[in-house]
């Protein structure tokens, strides 16, 4: 499959400090790639290079001629002095009001069309941003921390929506995330970034990679695969010797109902038995 955008050996420094070194990244239609890494790992810089907002110092960036990017920024700060309704916010991307309504419908907030943007909750803002990205009719969605400020249930719903959109539009998706345990379940490929690409692959491969474990700690790696051990009904640990690999042996994205929560690995919930 031809890549929508391909980065080879991309490097970028600010004030003589290397932020990215020799990063390779390829985004293809129908595939969700998630970028994870600690603060200062260069995630935002890499996203900006993909978006064309920054030029890399070294390396090659090749864009498909059909590339159309829908971008969902990390944070939306609208000054409360600006009176702006949701519909008007969407019209920056597309002035056709029927399409605006359809996009809102698709992300599940059609009822908010006349609401002021300043009154929306965190989850509603994220959905509105997603709707604006969709209005560009993109074949590549770039989502910078799409579930920021959303509660755990809402996060699951959003990741599910993103997965559905990928299937409907057959678009490539580049996601940036901090919350490792949830995002792992919703992604095809994980790229672990710490100025260079530490490791990449399926969530299963990455979570046992020594470099990943060194960066995020073994605990985090375990979270992403929920069951490193099992409990009996009295919360006793039944199988403490289980390795960090996924005991269930399934692709996490095939198990929408089984996404890991932090509490699952700690407590002795009955579903673990």
């Amino acid at each position: 499959m031809t890549a929508l955008i391909e980065l080879q050996g991309t490097g970028k420094s600010f004030a003589n400090r290397a932020v990215l070194q020799a990063v390779d990244l390829s985004l293809v239609p129908g595939r969700i790639v998630t970028l994870i890494g600690p603060n200062g790992a260069g995630k935002t810089t890499l996203v900006k290079i993909v978006l064309g907002l920054l030029q890399p110092d070294s390396g090659r960036v090749q864009r498909s001629v059909q590339l159309r990017v829908g971008y969902m920024p990390q944070k939306l700060h609208i000054d409360p002095t600006l009176p702006l309704q949701v519909e008007r916010f969407l019209q920056f991307a597309n002035t056709n009001s029927a399409e605006c309504s359809a996009a809102l419908e698709r992300v599940g907030i059609a009822h908010l069309i006349k609401q002021p943007v300043s009154g929306l909750s965190g989850g509603e803002v994220q959905r509105m941003l997603l709707a604006r990205a969709l209005l560009r009719k993109p074949n590549l969605l770039v989502l910078d921390e799409p579930v920021q400020g959303v509660d755990v249930t809402g996060q699951q719903a959003l990741y599910q929506l993103i997965g559905e959109l990928r299937d409907e539009l057959n678009c490539g998706i580049l996601m940036v995330s901090h919350d490792l345990h949830l995002v792992m379940a919703a992604t095809d490929e994980v790229v672990c970034l710490n100025q260079h690409v530490c490791c990449h692959g399926t969530p299963q491969q990455v979570s046992v990679d020594p470099e990943f474990v060194a960066l995020f700690g073994a605990k985090t790696a375990l979270y992403t695969h929920r069951h490193d051990h099992e409990h009996d009904l009295h919360s006793g640990i039944v199988n403490p010797s289980a390795s960090v690999s996924c005991n269930h042996g399934s692709e996490p994205q095939n198990l929408p109902g089984e996404r890991a929560r932090p509490s699952d690995s700690k407590g002795g919930s009955e579903s673990d038995v």
């Binding site: 978006l51 990017v69 971008y71 920024p73 939306l76 000054d79 702006l84 920056f92």
Partner: protein, 262 residues
Amino acid sequence: MYDFLYLALMAGLGVAIIAGPMGSLVVWQRMAYFGETLAHGALLGIALGMWFSWSNSVAVVIVCLLIAGVLIVFERQRLLATDTLLGILSHGSLALGLVALTLIPGARTDMEALLFGDILTVTMAEVGVVWLMAACVLFALWRLWPSLLAITVHEDLARVEGVRVDAVKAVLKLLLALVVAISMKVVGVLLITALLIIPSASARHFAKTPEQMAMLASMLAMLAVCAGLGASWWLNTPVGPSIVVNASLFFVLVLLFRGRGQ
């Protein structure tokens, strides 16, 4: 018989119309301090204009553009926070302007008129300049309005969607410089920012869309100009400050009105 009053009214209304949309943008983009800096720089512009016998408006616009340029260059260096830079430029140019005005040989300047406005001595030609410039600024704002709003909401998002962000921002600064140049005669360099932001701040409470806010702000500014001129006529107060006092009064009334409604 009261020709000077009509001329003053015409000049004031011309500035008030433009103060609505421009003031709203200043409020949304948090450019109030930048506007203040340009206004103070205008004093330096007047001094330069006298020194070289240029027209005041031209000199003011040139100095404002220089200040905007210096600011853009220093912002890129990221050595100092923007508000620190603005503080330096703002007060530096104000002080330099005041010193330069007293050093000009043979020139007797009415400092108060420069600082607080002198709308009652406005000439027919000056009114013409005000309206011409106001029309140009309004036209530019109208053409750029969607882009200006888009970058107000989110710069990177606007850039990805194809807005030429840097160009639009540069034009906005230029337009603000023009507005400062034409407002100076009406309210003086110290009160220009007030005329821009106070009506917009009042209008915010009633507006549901950005355009409503801009238009309402224009109307409130026009009302403040009329009321200020009236107050000045009957109470014999200085016109520029009277206009700003009336604008502030409207703002307080809006607050009280809203407070009761809730």
